[in-house]
């Protein structure tokens, strides 16, 4: 080894766990190191052909601690949480939770999402849920189309939905005050947990 080389995190030693895998384990209780790269998750994943990195590659990269590569992929944004990977994993690795953890980390660290519309959908949707206590479909669809510039594309679908009476134009409020309180308390608790 020359002087300029640093010991890379992914030069795995027995018992070694990368910082990223360690964080995910602490946050979500899933152990990426259990993965033995059989590829069963990827072979069953309905979205894998649209992803930059296959689920198998993602979990391997998590083990190696290749945080930048993983967080800058579109994989965890395209994951629809169908659970095929996790349901079929012979090692109980919990890839579904790894995907959630990556989105959680990316949001916290302000990583620019590779699927901006998807990230925006979750953000806008969750804000509306916080505000009204329940989902407001017409609102999320409208706001999203405006924010992502897809109004032209989505207009036809929106109109069809309205004609069938499938969308409520005006939002309903459902226990909204209590919902806001819950959001605040969760945020506070998360800060406490992060500090502890």
């Amino acid at each position: 080894m020359t002087e300029t080389q640093v010991v890379l995190e992914y030069e795995l030693l027995p018992g070694h766990i990368s910082e990223l895998a360690g964080n995910i384990k602490a946050m979500h209780g899933v152990d990426a190191n259990m993965c033995y790269q059989c590829g069963k998750c990827t072979s069953g994943c309905p979205l894998n052909e649209y992803m930059d990195m296959t689920p198998t590659q993602v979990i391997h990269a998590v083990r190696l601690g290749l945080k930048d590569i993983v967080l800058n992929s579109n994989t965890y944004w395209l994951c629809v949480a169908c659970g095929t990977c996790t349901g079929r994993c012979p090692q109980d690795t919990g890839l579904l939770m790894v995907m959630d953890a990556l989105a959680n980390i990316a949001i916290k660290e302000g990583i620019k999402p590779r699927e901006p519309a998807v990230a925006e959908f979750y953000r806008t949707g969750l804000n509306l849920v916080k505000r009204y206590g329940m989902m407001y479909e017409a609102g999320v669809a409208g706001l999203l189309s405006l924010k992502t510039g897809t109004l032209g594309r989505d207009f036809g679908l929106g109109l069809r939905m309205l004609k069938k009476g499938k969308l409520e134009v005006i939002p309903h409020s459902q226990n909204a005050d209590e919902m806001k309180k819950i959001f605040q308390r969760v945020a506070k608790k998360e800060q406490e947990l992060a500090g502890s």
Binding site: P46, V129, G165, L193
Partner: protein
């Protein structure tokens, strides 16, 4: 028999016909349902991406409301809600510390675990199946239905614990057969339709839905039965876009509760079949 009933966001808007038909079926079975008044959204697709703690708190808040009603079992028709309820319960069983934190947030201490059931699990109970059989008045044996379960109900099975095989479930097939509707063997029972990408990546969703519809068509189905509002909407509304690309399916997508309701004599006018995008009334009338 009385259950709590989590009548959630999608059942009040895009999936209103699911709620309507389900109420009719439960009425006929003389099962009483009561909604918690102080329910909130369970956070389904939205919360787990940004905060795992929030994703677990919202379902437990709802279960706390059910415990306060003095009930210990809840029927959850939306598969996304069902999934989140089950996952939250599972996670909290695994991690007592998180459970304690959440109990503090929602200011409720759980005395016992609330039983969370999808209507499929309830209707598939032996006594209910027998009762359904005895109620059949309309012959729908000409229908050739594929039962499409989607993903959220069956996976991850360790967490949801759905009372069936996660790779090849038969619950819906059993219920439909009990009311005289023929279901066909096919291979896309639990393939994902891409529901949550519906308005963000419609290109992908069109690919995924067409695969499911192709398989349904190739086994000769003339209708699809679903237990999920996202699946229903996705498979239904996307057929028009697929037709524009030159592939016509004309496959009506029914909630399984609509088919059961029709078979046990609920009049068509009491259901909301007109809300489906693909015409779904003609196929019910047997060709003479």
């Amino acid at each position: 028999m009385k259950y709590a009933y989590y009548n959630s966001c999608s059942l009040r808007s895009t999936g209103r016909e699911y709620h309507q038909s389900l109420m009719r079926v439960f009425d006929k079975l003389e099962i009483e349902l009561e909604e918690p008044k102080k329910w909130v959204c369970c956070g389904s697709t939205l919360a787990h991406n940004s905060s795992v703690l929030l994703a677990e708190t919202l379902p437990l808040k709802n279960l706390a409301e059910i415990e306060k009603m003095g009930l210990d079992e809840v029927v959850v028709p939306c598969t996304a809600c069902y999934n989140r309820f089950k996952v939250a319960q599972y996670e909290d069983d695994e991690d007592r510390r998180v459970k304690k934190e959440i109990e503090e947030i929602i200011e409720h201490k759980f005395e016992k675990e609330i039983g969370v059931f999808h209507p499929l699990e309830i209707l598939a109970r032996e006594d209910n199946l027998a009762k359904l059989k005895s109620l059949v008045v309309r012959d729908l044996s000409h229908l050739k239905v594929v039962s499409y379960y989607g993903c959220l109900l069956v996976r991850p099975h360790k967490e949801t614990g759905f009372l069936d095989n996660p790779e090849y479930p038969m619950t819906m097939d059993k219920i439909l057969s009990a009311v005289g509707i023929k279901t066909i063997d096919w291979s896309h029972k639990v393939e994902c339709c891409g529901g949550s990408l519906s308005i963000t990546r419609p290109d992908i969703v069109l690919d995924l839905t067409s695969r499911i519809l192709n398989d349904a068509r190739s086994v000769g189905a003339n209708a699809v039965a679903v237990p999920c509002t996202f699946c229903q909407l996705n498979l239904d509304v996307r057929q028009e876009d697929l037709a524009k690309k030159g592939v016509r399916y004309d496959l009506p997508i029914y909630y399984f509760t609509e088919l059961v309701a029709l078979a046990i004599g609920v009049p068509e006018k009491d259901l909301m079949l007109g809300k489906h995008f693909v015409e779904s009334e003609q196929v019910l009338t047997r060709a003479v």
